[in-house]
Symmetry: C2
Subunit: 306 residues, 2 copies
């Protein structure tokens, strides 16, 4: 039981109505790994520059994340994202992106990373995702995220990458954009026709929907009175979702396991947004996760009609 994640390891500068932070630890692979570590052994793959502090690797390492495939590039700069949110925090406004060491990233997975049962391809250039997927031939369940940029600029590569995976986790608007189908249920079916048998539509504060050939399942987001920074919530969702599935030890999870995985994804995403960056998920406990899972059940359960 092990999970490999490839994606950005980054510095994020973020401003929200609730504050501002400069060059925090962030990136899709980092948010994902910190969520998935509660369920399975996580190996993180990606490049950093020599501006990346040892303390950040240490933070991951101390929480059980295997960082031996993090590649430090001499003279390189770590991926940097700057953005802000207005009152509607469902929408991120990007102010700056500097690829840094990602511009020349040539992924080389160790044997341990190649053989992990579950693989998550975080949001990076689709050709990079395909090369990683080709190396990780030991994985039984491969999943992928992406973004509007790649749909607009490298659609053919992205469709090929999607054809290589079992599971896709996208924002709902991106599923519609990719398939040019405004109805989400029809759009999800169009994605399944590209290859994946599991499609998850992430809807920000509104929750998430799971589609398989057998049907669908939907959860609202966990309601919170304090939302400080939504950056990384989608990756924390993916970490909870895929981490739980890896813990089940099967390449073909049944409907009950998929539903519980959706609930764990929702729970981890809800912790993510409570504080800036990785602050909350880096410190959350297993007991808090179990409590919130039960609270989410309580928040959504209703009885048969009397």
């Amino acid at each position: 039981m092990a999970l490999t994640v490839v994606g950005s390891i980054a510095f994020d500068s973020v401003r929200t109505p609730f504050g501002e932070r400069d060059r925090m630890l962030g990136g899709s692979a980092v948010h994902f790994a910190l969520a998935a570590r509660f369920f399975t052994q996580v190996r993180i793959v990606g490049p950093v520059g020599d501006d990346f502090e040892e303390e950040h690797l240490e933070l991951l390492h101390q929480r059980g994340v295997d960082t031996s495939d993090v590649e430090r590039v001499d003279g390189g700069q770590t991926f940097f994202w700057q953005g802000h949110y207005e009152a509607d925090m469902n929408l991120a406004h990007t102010d700056d992106t500097q690829l840094g060491v990602f511009a020349d990233f040539d992924p080389k997975l160790s044997e341990a990373s190649r053989n992990a049962e579950v693989l998550f391809l975080g949001n990076i250039q689709p050709d990079l995702q395909r090369r990683v997927r080709a190396q990780a031939d030991g994985s039984r369940l491969a999943a992928l995220d992406s973004m509007n940029l790649w749909i607009e600029t490298t659609r053919d590569s992205l469709v090929a990458a999607i054809g290589d995976v079992d599971c896709l986790l996208f924002n709902d608007s991106e599923i519609r954009m990719l398939t040019e189908e405004p109805n989400l249920a029809r759009a999800a079916r169009a994605v399944m026709d590209m290859g994946p048998r599991i499609v998850v539509a992430k809807r920000g504060e509104y929750g998430a929907v799971l589609f398989t050939r057998e049907g669908f399942f939907a959860l609202p987001g966990f309601l919170l009175e304090d939302v400080r920074d939504p950056t990384g919530a989608g990756d924390s969702f993916a970490g909870g979702f895929l981490g739980y599935l890896d813990m089940q030890g099967t390449a073909d999870p049944g409907p009950d396991a998929l539903r519980r995985a959706m609930a764990y994804g929702t729970v981890l995403a809800s912790f993510n947004v409570e504080e800036f960056g990785t602050d909350r998920v880096a410190g959350v406990t297993e007991d808090e996760i179990s409590e919130r899972y039960e609270a989410l059940r309580g928040m959504t359960h209703f009885e048969a009609s009397s």
Copy 2:
């Protein structure tokens, strides 16, 4: 057990990506009544012009809706709304509104309408809502809807109207606008401080959230592959929600009844959007409602963690 609804009885001209219809039967009170009639005796109050065909009253009457408080104004024109939807059907674009007989509407409720246990004040001018509320002194559970127009132009009247009711059903964006609080959970608490003990935030295709002093409950929208016209879905939701509560025969429904009411609201709203105007809800059967209620349970249920 009876329910009085006051609101628009209208002609709607609607264009969506799936077709176009001219001067269909519509209006908040009509959509509400056609949904609520499955659960209780519904009395509809509102004015129509002499352009309003007898067949429309007959359609309501045949479905058990009491139309004796529908006032026909000689020489008047029935309320008219024209609008369209783009690919994102969560957003209605208004092209024309003609108040017609609503400009001089002076509500006079019959004794039967005044004594109904449940009262729904559909989206009309807040001072009109207050006058109706003052007349309906027999109601044990009064609820109210409104819209951004009244928040912007007659906020004080609207806040006074809200202070007179037990339950508020608004779009989530309108709850935020009314309270100037971007966080929905905090905004709902601010609404409760204005008077209502039950607050429902409607979120279009994303579902709805229920807030009480005891906590909250959230449901996603029912997923559909065919959504043709969302006009009136919020009123169908309110009809299913309040109709079910009236059927319980108590002024103070408990948490289980409120949750089931949320599910029935979701079910009736989902039928509403499947066809243009009132076509689907006017023809739906009790069996179809029960089936979809169970399907919604199946779509949202997940087990405790193993």
